[in-house]
Symmetry: D2
Subunit: 96 residues, 4 copies
């Protein structure tokens, strides 16, 4: 586990605000289906929500790298390797 | 615009249920940030939500293809071309 | 199988030219590694090659939709459903 | 720029072998088009090549993180921040 203080906590409120917006966008998708809007318009909005989620993930990842990975690098080789492997697994899930 | 009856309407409730689940997952992400959980665990969950959204989009697209694109193909070449171009633009946004 | 004449054959040479460019880009990546260039510069080029491949796939898909899927739609419901299912499986592989 | 020795150089031959395979796969795509094979079969192979490229990118990124980012973290905060920002830009291009 990272040091007691996770990197993203310095920006906790902005991460929460971003996820609140995504929640609102998903509810917007539900309304589009409720209102029986045109399929392609809904698909366009799904792409927008996916992009918003990707941005939220990249923002969290950046802070994890800047804090947890950098801290681990300074602790030692084993800590650095473990933290990088863990980050790469998360990055792989985002890419694939 | 597609015929008065969009393809996805035959499965309207299942599309809505799927989007309700995504909304719940996004609120789950917010709780993880509120609870200051570990960054990588949150990123893992973001990937799961992204996959759920992709599945929702593909389900909507399949019905659009099976109804709106097939209907247009039967109306004539111009209608078919316009509907395929529109679907390809949506597919491109999902792929890119 | 689609009608004797696959949709993309009308643009066969441009599809080939596009894939030739991708081949050249991949060889360019090899030279970057041979020349021991900076990791990030190589990663930037990998992203460019991935985008070129996506464009090649979308171009092929568009013609498949405009010819094979439209033809199948005009043959009958079973043919249309089979062809759309097949196209959706290919689209899903591109999206995921 | 990273230390004189880029992380991936310890595995230079395996990176090159991987990219040689991708080159072979792309030439395989060209043959499929030359032989006028079925569109969906070509699209299936394009997805396979894209996945191979993603794996090549992730392998390069892992070594960049394990060497260049870790080295920069040990040099100082400014070096760490610059190297993480650079890596995040590359990761963002891979994700988007």
């Amino acid at each position: 586990m990272c040091a007691a203080h996770h990197g993203y906590l310095t920006q906790k409120s902005s991460h929460l605000a971003r996820l609140k917006r995504v929640e609102g966008q998903v509810r917007g998708l539900q309304r589009m289906v409720e209102d029986e809007q045109y399929c392609i318009d809904i698909l366009t909005q799904v792409s927008a929500v996916t992009k918003a989620l990707e941005s939220a993930a990249l923002a969290l990842l950046a802070e994890h790298m800047n804090h947890c990975v950098v801290d681990a690098a300074r602790q030692g080789d084993d800590e650095a390797r473990a933290k990088v492997d863990e980050a790469m697994a998360a990055i792989s899930r985002l890419v694939k």
